[in-house]
Symmetry: D2
Subunit: 292 residues, 4 copies
Amino acid sequence: MNIAFLGLGNMGAPIARNLLRAHHALTVWNRSPQKARPLIEAGAQGAPSPRAAAARCDIVCTMLADDTALEEILEGPEGLLAGLAAGALHIGFSTISVAAAERVARRHTEREQRYLSAPVFGRPEAAEAAKLFVVAGGEHRDVERARTLLEAIGQRVFHVGETPSAANLVKLCGNFMILSAIEALAEAMALAQKGGVDPRQLVEVLTGSLFDSIVYRGYGAALAEKRFRPAGFAAPLGLKDMRQVGQAAEALRVPMPLLNVLRDHLLQTIGAEGEDIDWSGIGRTIARNAGL
Amino acid sequence: MNIAFLGLGNMGAPIARNLLRAHHALTVWNRSPQKARPLIEAGAQGAPSPRAAAARCDIVCTMLADDTALEEILEGPEGLLAGLAAGALHIGFSTISVAAAERVARRHTEREQRYLSAPVFGRPEAAEAAKLFVVAGGEHRDVERARTLLEAIGQRVFHVGETPSAANLVKLCGNFMILSAIEALAEAMALAQKGGVDPRQLVEVLTGSLFDSIVYRGYGAALAEKRFRPAGFAAPLGLKDMRQVGQAAEALRVPMPLLNVLRDHLLQTIGAEGEDIDWSGIGRTIARNAGL
Amino acid sequence: MNIAFLGLGNMGAPIARNLLRAHHALTVWNRSPQKARPLIEAGAQGAPSPRAAAARCDIVCTMLADDTALEEILEGPEGLLAGLAAGALHIGFSTISVAAAERVARRHTEREQRYLSAPVFGRPEAAEAAKLFVVAGGEHRDVERARTLLEAIGQRVFHVGETPSAANLVKLCGNFMILSAIEALAEAMALAQKGGVDPRQLVEVLTGSLFDSIVYRGYGAALAEKRFRPAGFAAPLGLKDMRQVGQAAEALRVPMPLLNVLRDHLLQTIGAEGEDIDWSGIGRTIARNAGL
Amino acid sequence: MNIAFLGLGNMGAPIARNLLRAHHALTVWNRSPQKARPLIEAGAQGAPSPRAAAARCDIVCTMLADDTALEEILEGPEGLLAGLAAGALHIGFSTISVAAAERVARRHTEREQRYLSAPVFGRPEAAEAAKLFVVAGGEHRDVERARTLLEAIGQRVFHVGETPSAANLVKLCGNFMILSAIEALAEAMALAQKGGVDPRQLVEVLTGSLFDSIVYRGYGAALAEKRFRPAGFAAPLGLKDMRQVGQAAEALRVPMPLLNVLRDHLLQTIGAEGEDIDWSGIGRTIARNAGL
């Protein structure tokens, strides 16, 4: 397959590299060109614009920071939309809002281009190890067309529905679930600590019994050791995601009181600690509010 | 070891049976005597009162419904306190409040009796299979003295501190964590469903990736299938536990906004559904509030 | 009328004095007798016990700190219950819980004594000026019997129902309303201030337009000037009242999410500031959480 | 003064009429021209576009539904910006977001036009009676220039700061305060009612003592009588305002837990009741969640 990859940041670069390793012909583009260099040295071709990259390929992958960044490379005379052939496939890996995914899907449909929304769970380390979890939204035939590619970058592919934006909704739900677990851990740890129990022991009991999963082990340790910097996932990005969950919830008329707690704790944390703290830094806020 | 066991309900009976199986000499007592019969037939001795049971043994185990039930069998002329020899050990398995655990500990100390608080995680099935998780609070020597016994009934023993009530605090934190996970699942599922995603698919993605643990698998399935009766753990018991978490939080000056959400959802659920619904029935309330 | 008055603290003493001024024959009792002295000098008679005070009178008024204090002077060989004649009337001014009011009512009914629950709104200054608002719960004939007395101490009497505890519920609702107004003011002021608006100007707009009432004027000024000490109504007393609202809400299965916010802010405030801060000190917590 | 008035809806029309009554020379424009007719018959001049209206006048007033509606009549070849002379003054009465007010202010500054933000408190009846409360943000000289005009339409003018958007922030805070009062009333009334107290009696006590103000009287009666239709202020408009408060709070890093409660109750209410219910309809949701 001829594949283009646009957006070579912390997540995009290792994913693109795994596509190269899987012997796909790869064309790459990034806004700041120096990020494309290592991939070009490893065998990829460079392209001068999203349009040029898209024009050469059957499949174009994108991994951008947010709604705006994605929509900017899509539109305009040098954009992806202008380059992509009818029938060619765009696979969007970015964590974007449900509304943006709907807009992107509409734009492709107008031009008879195919679109698969495929946000991923996993940190840069997981991307490098091709251990991502891929959540795919789109038509069955597009998932099948992308399957080899998706399996080259992740450990498992979930197909959650025919509507592309369904995948973005699931991805946002997943991030909401993770931060909810952090919140619960942090509240319990504050209570335990003020009651004379070492928070590490609480985490050991929880992860050694009913909560034996990655999220609780990883964030349990980070919270117990107050390890909030450098950020694995910065609080402002978490706030952006929770805002997008909130926008979906408002549009769909779904009260989410737990989401509100998370947003307020992120706000307080960013206000007190700055933009560079990990989103699990809400644990510091929760501890401080408890007088710890 | 000569062991007495007081309180032979859903949880107490299978635990006592496992002690018999492990070839301990067992004396049993229960308020309504017919519940003691199967154990007596299996080789245990009956006793006419907590005092009589305690008088014969080195170790007395209790598994009662709540603070009041435990304190009733403790006090009075026929109570456990009156029968237990100085130096003998009381192991309390009940999920009671931190304040009650402190009162019990004080009563034993006054009489030079030993007390180990040892609440457990696990449903009756886990008790039968000797797969409970035991959270022990008390002095090191008492944990050691009880170790063979505890290992006969559970898969793992966690020693969380020298103060008996520390174990009760950890147990309450655990129940808070479980209900928090249910809350997060239910909010995410309501959002997903209104956004056109099958809740079962959301659960499959979550448990197939970052939330691969017992709590999420079990409650995820129950919520997706709206299986809330018969109750595995009834909502009023959950409310009692959350009230006890709240009492500890108030005494220790720890704000717990997530706890508040849980309590309000339990109240609304019990009000609308009655006392016999499972505590995961908060999922029905959350769905209803979202117009589902 | 022969009236006894038990409990001569900040609120009780000025109320009792107004009864004297209204030319009632008054017998007084207080746990620490020196507090009774000024009233005795002004013409009241002293009594050695609640029983003795009650035995002489048709009507006994009580103004105690909380449930426990009231129930202690009620029971026992020297208690109010033992002294009060059948058909005589107890008027309870204390802010106690709904459950305690129900217990007190039951105790009187058993002895064919009459009981009127009559908690009041107002600070000590209002008590002195006979400007209290009295909320009365009890039978119509008892309200009529007490009317002259109640009009001698307050500016208005509201009869809210035949059940004495109804008055206590209304009183608790009133305190919940006041703290809710403080919460709303404090959140709005934090937002305004961070947005560059002087909080005093916000308060001026609000109280000069739609919120022209005592609560908003008084607490608006206190919040704007950060005047939280000395406490007019200390945060721990506010927490006690909010706990009692919460107990009623739990018993009646009423979710009250705003109440939860208030309780958490009181907890954080008491934890950070100590027990001597006014309950409006939640404004300091709200400002701090906003980074002010 | 030559005054133009753009936007002649429920609020705009009575305000414009009061300007005519005060003998100002008035030019009017509205998107659907028939709404301008009664004013033209009463002596105003019609204009074919915002630009044409603005070109004739020293002062242009606008009263539009929301950010988008205002920004649409501002921009473009036939827009207000194109017509307004340098030094002429735009008075914006609309309840718009802080961010939109900042954008509008910037656009005027670029063209050396003056801008005064002047949102109002009051319903259409108050507008007709010239009893609005005007919150003005802008330079002192612009407030003075507008004073006669503002006094012709309202009972009081509050000048809250030199930045126009400060007035919008204060207006949003005011709406947040009103809905907070409704929330508190509705929670207290649900508790009282389940406890056997007639909600009307609770409202009578509150408004007869500490909460003797317009908001509590008006909404207290509406809640007690369950009078939620026709909407005086529809729930979706309330939700829009609370969203704008939330956006300001997020931008300024201010946690507002009470705001969250309000938003969730609006969502649930609109979802269950439709778009035509009054924002005080959150009372119905609160009662329903309590099982009433």
